[in-house]
């Protein structure tokens, strides 16, 4: 007799669950073995106590183990499910037994599920109590009258006529569905309940019980010989079961009670206890949880397939139907796709892909036997099938038509997917250990494709921008292929996917696009939430990185699909608002082809390099403040000179450097920006009788203003006759609001008469206020007849409205002046209010025809 650890103590002493586990572990036991040993020890104890109550073993009394204990799978922290079976005659001895057996167990603090019943009482209860009935399925005699037990056993089995068996199976499936629903939401993906979740121990029990009732099988091990599972399947299921047993014991131990929920705080502890250490690619807890998910998945798939078979058994088809051939090797039978020729599938693997493609497209399920067949075939395929273009085509069709995850899940479960794309193997059950990622990576990618397809209706214009969706589909499906390799998954994924793209027969540019999309699948959302979207140069940088509107649209769609497939509440209106903003701004710039023209980009880079060389050490500080337009408007030497002059601004306030160019004079002005600056400059120039023919106005990012004005004398004076020093002094005063431009101009023009050009047909004055061309500025265009005070008039009006001019291009063509101003209001916003725009238009029209002093 196996006295075991109890005997070590000398007395039959019951240990607490904690002690029991510890000592069993000490003996090197775990999993199924541990449970068996533990059951045996409790059996010992009960026998000892039972026989201690009587001199000789009585008939008509039997101690029976039920449920998990009956299966010899007694968990130390679980209840001990006992039944004292008795015959009426022995009614008076019952108390003696309960005292002898139950009391010591209770005294030791153990949970004992106990019942005391006659055989008849049992039979009454099984009709009303489903769980009691199910626990009887696993009944096993511990000690006492074996004949009595046999009576119960036979009576019980006879109860199951064919009608009852069918009902049992149906009830079992209903309970299973309900359980999956109750324990299926996303929180259970992160912290699975290893008993009740999909693929958990309860699914195993459901298989075992149904196997017993429907097929008369005693235990799981008999499933293989009964033809219900292949040898490999059974081996996999038993291994998964053993692993879950191990985890469950550890979990009970860590929780100190019968808790089956793998809460986060226990995951790390158990991972360590089971020696799942961190590697360079994954954390120990991630490796552990991947293992748990794999086991759950094995059992989940096995139970799904088993119950599909059960459905067929209890609802055999009433009419005989004939199979319809859909294509070579693929048949349609009773609404399911059937593959039967194993050799054909090995020879022509594309048939399996095609079958799934038909399944996805026409919504016809694949028969579970065919899926099992596929599972065994794809273990033996020649690797060169991975480069089959035909298979690639069918695979893309599957992606295209996956409006739910069924087909892709089945492809994954059967092993076909990882056989075709071995790079995907690494992602199976891969867990990312945080509260954010609810799905394992494999499921996440499948879900991303499903979500992408769901976006077709909501974002038709985006899809419109994508000519051929095959790159988009594959990119969505593989966007996280670089995960679980130690970080930098976007870049790693981009590299991995090149090989896959080639196998799929993609052209070089398609492979390039595929890789780009994966490398940048987080680009849009990262920049939308973490960068200043009002910075034009930044948006320009994004536009140049993405280069094409079709790529932009694809990135946008992948971003949303990815978020939706990550977890609930990841995607929301808030994020969408930012993503929309960045999308539109980039799209808008992409439409302005010259901005993303590689020649322009090359020119800018060349300038930056040259200027950098000239500026030396200061280049690092100064380059960032120089806008692109400015860089493209001057020579590197001129820019370098401006930077040198800039240093004197603190002292001089305004720098004014005129240059004689013969026909006109070019004046370089540098000062610091302030409201109304341009109008003060214009006014002062008018005061000195100078007409501005052309001007380029730039504002550097640090507020320095660099203006180049091409001027001419209104009264025909020569260069040397102009009082440049006086001009500069007055500019300084004007800029500091020390010059009374109004009265001075009024004075000057009352005395002067300048050659007025009498024109018979006056060119129309036109003011256009445009918010469409640029996302960053309001553009005001003024078309008017030239006059000396025009520019001052307009800029003064703008200043009065507190409008800031950031950039301007002033020019003349024939008689007409075309002035273009890039402006923002005093709050730094574009001018968008309807009423204000109208008011401003009127004011500017007026200013354009009448000199406003």
């Amino acid at each position: 007799m196996n006295q075991g650890l109890l005997a070590e103590k000398g007395v039959f002493d019951i240990l607490t669950p904690r002690q029991a586990l510890a000592s069993l572990w000490e003996r090197g036991l775990s999993g199924a073995d541990l449970l068996r040993e533990h059951s045996a020890l409790i059996d010992e104890f009960i026998r000892e106590k039972f026989f201690s109550a009587f001199k000789s073993p009585p008939s008509g009394l039997c101690m029976v183990a039920l449920g998990g204990y009956g299966r010899k799978e007694l968990f130390p922290y679980s209840d001990i499910d006992l039944l004292l079976l008795y015959e009426d005659e022995q009614k008076d001895s019952v108390e003696k037994v309960t005292e002898a057996v139950f009391y010591p167990l209770w005294d030791a603090g153990l949970e004992v599920g106990h019942g005391v019943r006659t055989v008849d009482a049992c039979m009454e209860d099984i009709d009303t109590d489903f769980f009691f009935m199910v626990s009887l399925l696993d009944a096993r005699p511990i000690c006492g009258d074996e004949k009595l037990f046999t009576k119960l056993s036979d009576t019980f089995l006879n109860h199951f006529g064919p009608g009852a068996r069918k009902k049992f199976a149906q009830d079992m499936m209903v309970h299973r569905e309900e359980r999956h629903k109750r324990y299926g939401d996303h929180t259970y993906l992160l912290e699975p309940n290893i008993k009740e979740s999909r693929g958990g121990l309860r699914d195993l029990h459901a298989i075992i019980w149904t196997g017993k009732v429907l097929f008369g099988l005693k235990n799981l091990e008999e499933f293989s010989s009964a033809g219900l599972m292949s040898k490999q399947e059974l081996a996999a299921v038993l291994e998964a079961r053993d692993n879950l047993f191990i985890v469950r014991n550890r979990l009970h131990h860590a929780s100190g009670r019968k808790n089956d929920r793998l809460f986060f705080e226990y995951q790390e502890e158990i991972a360590k206890a089971l020696r799942f250490y961190d590697t360079k690619d994954l954390l120990g807890v991630e490796r552990f949880m991947r293992n748990v998910h794999r086991n759950l998945q094995t059992i989940s798939v096995a139970s799904d397939l088993f119950f599909e078979h059960v459905v067929d058994v209890i609802n055999p088809p009433s009419t005989s139907a004939s199979a319809k051939t859909l294509s070579k090797g693929i048949e349609l039978l009773r609404g399911r796709i059937v593959l039967t020729d194993q050799e054909l599938l090995k020879e022509r693997p594309y048939i399996m892909m095609k079958a799934f493609a038909i399944s996805a497209k026409d919504n016809i399920p694949l028969h579970y036997r065919s899926r099992k067949l596929i599972a065994s075939v794809c273990r033996e395929l020649d690797p060169k099938w991975r480069s089959s273009r035909k298979c690639a085509r069918y695979f893309l069709e599957i992606l295209r038509h996956s409006n739910d995850s069924t087909v892709l899940d089945q492809m994954l479960d059967s092993g076909l997917l990882t056989s075709f794309i071995p790079e995907f193997e690494h992602l199976k059950a891969l867990v990312i250990h945080d509260v954010y990622h609810v799905n394992t990576v494999d499921k996440h990618l499948i879900e991303s494709v499903v979500q992408l397809n769901g976006l077709r209706e909501r974002y038709p214009s985006m899809f419109h921008n994508v000519e051929d969706d095959k790159v988009l589909l594959l990119a969505t499906f593989l966007h996280d292929i670089g995960k679980g390799r130690g970080g930098g998954h976007a870049q790693k994924g981009a590299e991995i996917v090149i090989e896959i793209g080639k196998r799929f027969g993609f052209t070089e540019s398609e492979v390039d696009c595929l890789s780009f999309l994966i490398a940048n699948h987080l680009y849009l959302i990262d920049n939308a939430t973490r960068r200043d979207l009002e910075d034009e140069s930044l948006i320009l940088k994004f536009a140049r990185h993405i280069k094409r509107i079709d790529r932009l649209s694809m990135l946008y769609l992948i971003t949303i699909a990815d978020s939706l497939a990550t977890g609930p509440n990841v995607w929301n209106e808030w994020k969408e608002a930012l993503l929309l903003e960045v999308y539109h701004k980039i799209a808008h710039l992409l439409e302005q082809h010259e901005l993303v023209d590689p020649d322009r980009i090359a020119a800018v880079n060349w300038m930056k390099q040259k200027v950098s060389e000239l500026l030396g050490d200061e280049a690092q500080q100064l380059l960032p403040i120089l806008p692109e337009d400015y860089l493209l408007s001057f020579t590197p030497q001129a820019i370098s000179m401006h930077m040198t002059l800039k240093k004197k601004l603190a002292q001089n306030k305004v720098l004014c450097i005129p240059e004689d160019r013969g026909n006109f004079w070019s004046v370089l002005l540098m000062t610091t920006d302030r409201t109304g600056l341009l109008s003060k400059i214009c006014g002062t120039f008018v005061l000195y009788g100078l007409s501005i023919l052309q001007a380029q106005i730039f504002t550097l990012k640090d507020g320095t203003v660099v203006d180049v004005l091409d001027v001419r004398s209104l009264s025909g004076s020569s260069f040397s006759e102009i009082n440049w020093e006086g001009l500069c002094d007055d500019l300084k005063k004007a800029v500091q609001d020390r010059l009374g431009l109004n009265h001075r101009l009024a004075e000057k023009f009352s005395r002067m008469s300048f050659k007025e050009h009498k024109v018979s047909i006056r060119p129309k004055t036109r003011v256009v206020i445009d918010n469409k061309q640029s996302d960053f500025y309001t553009i005001i265009e003024v078309y008017a007849q030239d006059s000396p005070c025009l520019l001052y008039s307009i800029t003064k009006t703008l200043a009065e409205f507190n409008i800031n001019i950031h950039k301007a291009k002033i020019g003349t063509s024939a008689d007409q002046v075309v002035d273009v101003f890039y402006v923002l209001d005093e709050l730094g916003q574009r001018i968008e209010e309807e009423d204000f725009i109208k008011e401003l238009e009127k004011a500017l029209e007026y200013a354009a025809v009448s000199c406003v002093f």
Binding site: P460, S461, T529, R530, E534, L580, H584
Partner: protein
């Protein structure tokens, strides 16, 4: 004790977090909020389909501090979140009656 609530531009979050961390404040609550203010939302028309976003995405940061350091913390946030342009946000200071740590039951300043 005071509660400081700051509404800031989303892209300024990292700057503000860093600045607070430097100032010794490590615990805060962050939420994505929708702002309706002087800044306007977007109305875009793209190939005929109109997307109307009538709010401005903002980030709200909430922290509890000792009354003595309120001004200092407010200024830290303000400087870090400032861009000088419209929409930079606002900071609110509210009185707090009590703070309790769930794990231990500690109250008052120790629980901050």
């Amino acid at each position: 004790m005071k509660k400081i609530e700051a509404i800031i531009k989303p892209f300024k979050l990292d700057d503000v977090k860093d600045a607070l961390y430097e100032a010794g404040i490590k615990g805060m609550t962050i939420s994505e909020v929708k702002g309706h203010g002087r800044q306007k939302g977007h109305k875009e028309i793209y190939r005929g389909a109109e997307y109307v976003v009538d709010f401005i995405p903002k980030i709200k940061i909430e922290i509890i501090v000792d009354a003595e350091i309120v001004d200092q913390v407010v200024e830290t946030i303000r400087t870090a979140a400032n861009t000088g342009k419209i929409g930079d946000g606002k900071i609110f200071v509210l009185p707090v009656e009590d703070v309790i740590r769930v794990r231990t039951g500690e109250r008052g300043k120790e629980a901050i």
